[in-house]
């Protein structure tokens, strides 16, 4: 499985998909995430039945030394500051992978579709990303905080988060 081959297949089978390749991973628009994942899961050739790792990353231009990622073309509001959800897909049946799908959303409105209806394994991991990054996964059956307590305010893994005892200096 090389990355060009996967790209060709994705563009062929997922209509209207705009795809950017960055290193070993794909950046997918949020509207097409579910469709792309479903194709990869159900297609005979890929059978990506195992969603290994789901996590968030907060890209804040002011906090980055040399940004590892280039700005995404076509999504102007995501030029420098955005939240990213990273999904690592593997195949248990075919023993291949990974295919990495990244989704980027603006920091002030971080909503994206949930993969939980497709992969049960995303349930707690998406709750964690919601808890620590504030990414809202639409379609998640039980989106609550998981590690922090319910009354907690803010999302501690965001790069602009100020710890309680640091704000009064």
């Amino acid at each position: 499985m090389n990355i060009e081959e996967i790209k060709t297949d994705l563009l062929k089978h997922v209509p209207g998909l705009e795809l950017t390749v960055e290193g070993e991973s794909f950046v997918v628009p949020k509207e097409k995430l579910l469709e792309t994942a479903r194709f990869l899961k159900e297609n005979e050739k890929y059978r990506m039945d195992y969603l290994s790792c789901v996590t968030g990353v907060d890209y804040l231009a002011a906090r980055q030394g040399q940004p590892g990622q280039a700005a995404v073309g076509g999504q102007s509001e995501l030029a420098s500051d955005y939240l990213e959800s990273v999904n690592h897909l593997y195949s248990m049946e075919k023993k291949q992978g990974p295919i990495v799908l990244k989704v980027r959303v603006p920091r002030n409105n971080p909503r994206m579709p949930s993969l939980t209806p497709l992969y049960r394994g995303a349930e707690y991991q998406e709750r964690e990303a919601y808890d620590l990054f504030g990414i809202v996964y639409e379609g998640h059956p039980d989106l609550r905080r998981i590690l922090m307590w319910d009354e907690f305010e803010g999302h501690p893994m965001r790069k602009d988060y100020v710890e309680e005892d640091q704000d009064v200096r």
Binding site: V57, G65, G121, L132, P156, M157
Partner: protein, 381 residues
Amino acid sequence: MSETALHSQEPQLLEVSIGPQHPSTHGVFRMNVVLDGETIVKLKPVMGYLHRNHEQLAENMSYLASMPYTDRLDYICSMTNNFAYATAVEKLAGIDVPERAQYIRVLMAELTRLVNHTLLVGFLLNDLGAFFTPILYAFREREKILDFFEATAGSRMMCNYFRFGGLKSDLPAGGLEQVKKIVNNYSRFLDEFERLLTNNEILRSRCQNVGILSKELAVSASITGPMLRASGVNYDIRKVDKYSIYDRFEFKVPLGKVGDVYDRYYVRILEMRESIKILQQILKQMPEKGEIISAKGAAAGKSPRMWKPPAGDAYGRIESPKGELGFYLVSDGTPKPYRYHVRPPSFINITILEDMCLGYKVADAIIILGSVDIVLGEVDR
């Protein structure tokens, strides 16, 4: 209570909170259970009591400084935590590992697997009510391996032994003799353990056909490790990724048939026997002398606060005793990781705890949780 409620035929549901301070939850873990009589109709796990934002801590220090913190994730298996983190950083920065170091790494990983599975079986029996007899046999054997860890790394449990590109130090004089002794005696211990347990009437009737996890659900819920294999799915990252030097050893991947608590117990016993086979092969093949850290890795260790991996991201994963342990790292080219994420196997393995427990009694829920094998240091991070 009104007259109608007293005589109504509606079941009276009872809400019980099991934990967080309860020995059977293996740490500070809570299950909110709704009971109909003694049967579970709803179960919601509550976690986070041990949360210290490990990821945030790691993002505020140099790459190497996180190594001792990884020990505290799954505190039973510090060696494999080190292994996974070192694998991810080596992938990120393109660091190679010399041959002898690879052998010692696999040696440590397999000894850790023995430690973890032995303890798990002991604690599972504790949960079953075989109070402290099996676990003391387990502790006795574990102590011998921990003695070896102490002689090598200087610490029994918080080993902090791996470095990027190799290891902290070589084995001590007489270290391999110690391993040989452990390996030679372990099969005998397992035989003894199995005579006590495997065909035990009580163990069988308590564990068989309890907490069944189907193949399909196990795959879709991202279950990994012995729990997945007990459900009959042949997926072992040691075989699939062939990381480090696992392609040089012959070993089988034991599978369960039913996917119940008993299979989860037995798969672990069989896995220990395979680990012993790997250890025997290591003792035969291991080169007597050699570098234990590569030049590039040594450079990273020399001035850790100045060392910068190239910008980019990497996901490194290994088969830890509990399942897939992965580290996702994003580097922005500075000495601190821009993003550091742990994919803990036991956190994801309890996703389907409710599905496995529904319809069983409270006492069954305790052993189902025990057979999942969670460590709260890793679940809560």
